[in-house]
Symmetry: C2
Subunit: 183 residues, 2 copies
Amino acid sequence: MTAPRRRADAAENRERIIEAARAVVAGADEVRLNEIAKRAGVGQGTLYRHFPTREHLLAEVYRQDVDELVTAAPKLLAEHDPLTALTRWLARVADYAQVKRGVLAAVEAGVRRDLSAHSQGPIGDALATLLDAGKADGTVRQDVDARDVILLLGYLTRLEDGEWDGRARHLLTVILEGVRSRG
Amino acid sequence: MTAPRRRADAAENRERIIEAARAVVAGADEVRLNEIAKRAGVGQGTLYRHFPTREHLLAEVYRQDVDELVTAAPKLLAEHDPLTALTRWLARVADYAQVKRGVLAAVEAGVRRDLSAHSQGPIGDALATLLDAGKADGTVRQDVDARDVILLLGYLTRLEDGEWDGRARHLLTVILEGVRSRG
DNA sequence: ACCTGAACACCGTTCAAGT
DNA sequence: ACCTGAACACCGTTCAAGT
């Protein structure tokens, strides 16, 4: 009936795995799970014990970034009109996607998982908040939902390296124009 | 100095590979190259001799479909105003993407290859023709190009099975609204 | 309970040997 | 010239053995 002393190093392993994953993700975009395990100094099985799928691991790596995006939505709404808030939020998503190349893929994977659980997930909810405000406002089309916008944002994962400056922001304005109510 | 008699069965192998690939692509969406070779009754090396990359093979499988899309563009332009022509062409792309699940992935892979060869490729050219007509017409934004639209169309590859009816066409109208000149 | 890492499974790719 | 298919490389995943 001793306290679960072993839990300590299990938690430490978990931390080390996330740390190693972060390093690998930040470096070359080849994310090999066995390499992460090796870097973390744990067996492959340990990695799988903590993170049953690749997506679970990536979700954890980008958890902080996703949280920031989620909490930013209501803040932006408090300070700006809905369309401006949406515009800035999307710009922030694009910035994350550019600087942390894997974040959008992780977000999309998470959204996918949430969808199959019949939930929008935190990112979907944040986006829905922005869109709903715009709908109430009359500035956003009534027939557009969070999933629509997430699907369109997927272009960010397919941009070639040299295209960011020319297209990332630009396509955001095209999407916003499409989402807007007709003037 | 005899005629290259061997060429005959080489060409036949090539056909059989394409045929087998078509069958596999139409069936389960797991496209395993070794399985295609096996189905075609050829060695794996033979497959690689004819198609150096997976993309080359897929491009060949969908060549006919791509050709149809390419030739449809000028026809639609001859019969309709530019915006209507663009709308119908995009609808056709979406239909292909739904019925032949792999076609858009193949198209995107082809476009990617063409891009690195500093060319737009046939699909890009067809789309550019439609967009240019709209720009001349004043119905399409001057700052949108074929690559922009192809990037946005990528959502078609990420739709879940049940989402086609609800979102495929709908998102097309959102994109068109974004591409349009402001009224 | 948790960890390890050898071993398995899988699939793309190559290449020595054949015709 | 072209073809074959065993073999290699690679990476995700499992599981028997250890602590």
